[in-house]
């Protein structure tokens, strides 16, 4: 019972991650791509928790949610200009 629910959750999360990863590479504006990569990172943290790895889930949540997004946004702001 629990196992089939978890299987449905992991399959749904995996499909969303794959679609979001493709969208991050083909979407027009770079800032949208950065936001979508942040979503992929957060979903990866959910998969880590489902794989019984809470330590890795904590690390991925803090790194992916905050630090990685801010580093890319900072780089985007420093480049400036088009796209």
């Amino acid at each position: 019972m629990n196992m089939s629910l978890f299987a449905a959750a992991s399959i749904g999360t995996g499909i969303m991650m794959i679609v979001a990863a493709v969208a991050a590479l083909i979407v027009k504006k770079l800032i949208s791509a950065i936001i979508i990569v942040g979503f992929v990172s957060l979903s990866a943290s959910l998969l880590f928790l489902l794989m019984d790895a809470p330590d890795v889930a904590i690390t991925e949540a803090s790194i992916g949610a905050a630090i990685s997004t801010v580093i890319f946004l900072w780089g985007r702001g420093k480049i400036g200009g088009e796209q």
Partner: protein, 118 residues
């Protein structure tokens, strides 16, 4: 096609898909920061596959208390723990070098970076 089988293999398929998509992005994109983003995606996929290699369904997280007898493999989780933190430092280095290269050549498009040709 039991639920356990689907649960186990969907994780591997997700990680594999992320690695391949990241590789495709690195090969085909033009903007330097977009390449860095694809690199980060592939990094996440590799971490997923590494954690998956120590995962068994129907076991508990590797924190022993009185209610838990069988746990998953703690070794790949310990390796991935350090790999994530190193990955973000390497991504920061990538972004800095990319910003400097785009400053020097006047555009963030890698086709205009003449110094990087080989």
């Amino acid at each position: 096609m039991s639920a356990e089988y689907l649960f186990y293999w969907s994780m591997a398929a997700t990680g594999l898909g992320l690695v391949l998509i990241g590789l495709w992005g690195v090969l085909t994109r033009k903007h330097i920061l977009r390449i860095a983003l694809a690199f980060t995606l592939a990094d996440t996929g590799v971490n997923l596959i590494l954690v998956w290699s120590g995962f068994l369904p129907n076991r508990a997280a590797p924190i022993i208390d009185s209610s838990v007898t069988t746990v998953v493999d703690p070794l790949p989780q310990a390796l991935v723990l350090t790999s994530i933190v190193i990955g973000v430092a390497v991504a920061a280095l990538f972004v800095v070098v990319g910003v400097l290269a785009s400053r020097k050549s006047g555009s963030a498009d890698i086709r205009h970076m003449k110094e990087l040709r080989w």
